[in-house]
Amino acid sequence: MPVRFGVIQFPGSCDERDAVAACERVGEARLVWHEERDLSDIDVVIVPGGFSYGDYLRAGAIARFAPAMEAVARFAAEGGPVLGICNGFQVLCEAGLLPGALLPNENLRFVCRQVDLVVASTGSAFTAELTEGERLSVPVKHMSGRYYAPGELLDELEAAGQVVLRYAPGQNPNGSARDIAGVRNAAGNVMGLMPHPEHAVDELTGSADGLRLFASAAAGLRAVHATA
């Protein structure tokens, strides 16, 4: 049975189609309109990048109240894998599904470039098939990507292996605390990252490293299906 991905689509999302295309390389995928509440046909949820509801207040602040996000919160509470990318990461932080917050980039500029990421933890559904310390080449493109959490919380996250991805030394594009590019929740089923793995799924566009995050989630679910 193929793994079924659901990609949430808010008004103002802009990377949902690339996310669907990435998911379709490892399973089946459909868009989930922000007013939908039924995720019963979905195995993995992707909250994609863009500017949900225009991000008029704070990035991700308004989208967290969408009906679909209530469904995503229930889905996550039941252990369903959820990946937030860029704006999706901001939404998951605002919704309290992930620790921390994303602040405007240190230099106030929109950054759009390919960066190297270092895998810091394989304890998430989306990095379970990767190896700690290995590098991934994935693009970033954002204006508010500076990961922040208070110092004590950062210590706790690091100690618990909840820092999943870091920017490679010298490549931190936004001033993120401790070079953090992606984090996970305590259980490991919810993960968020600022870089865009859905834009790195084919060597033709520079790298296929991003695909491995989607493949990792799919492999984990196939293993669950096989034992069920």
């Binding site: 207040l57 704070r58 605002e94 602040l103 405007p104």
Partner: protein, 87 residues
């Protein structure tokens, strides 16, 4: 005025100030600060840029909750409900 079975609330005008928490780098404030000397303003330091939200509410008792849930992100921002007066 005949009673309609419920209290009538006058809307209350409120002003909410939201600012980056102390200790969090505020690049917008820094950019403003850096621009000032070129314009002839000297001796101005520690510029912080926040947001001001004005609103009218029939239930001011819920303003704190509103700030915590939407207007501010308490992890990164402090808020202050600075003015309450009848509209």
């Amino acid at each position: 005025m005949p009673s309609r079975g419920r209290r009538y609330f006058c809307p209350v005008k409120a002003r909410v100030l939201i600012r980056p928490k102390e200790g969090i780098l505020d690049p917008q404030g820094k950019a403003v600060e850096r621009a000032l000397p070129a314009l002839g303003f000297s001796g101005i330091n520690h510029v912080r840029v926040g947001r001001l939200v004005e609103l009218e509410t029939e239930d001011p008792s819920r303003l704190g909750e509103l700030c915590e849930k939407l207007l501010a992100n308490p992890l990164i921002e402090d808020y202050e409900i600075v003015e309450l007066q009848e509209a």
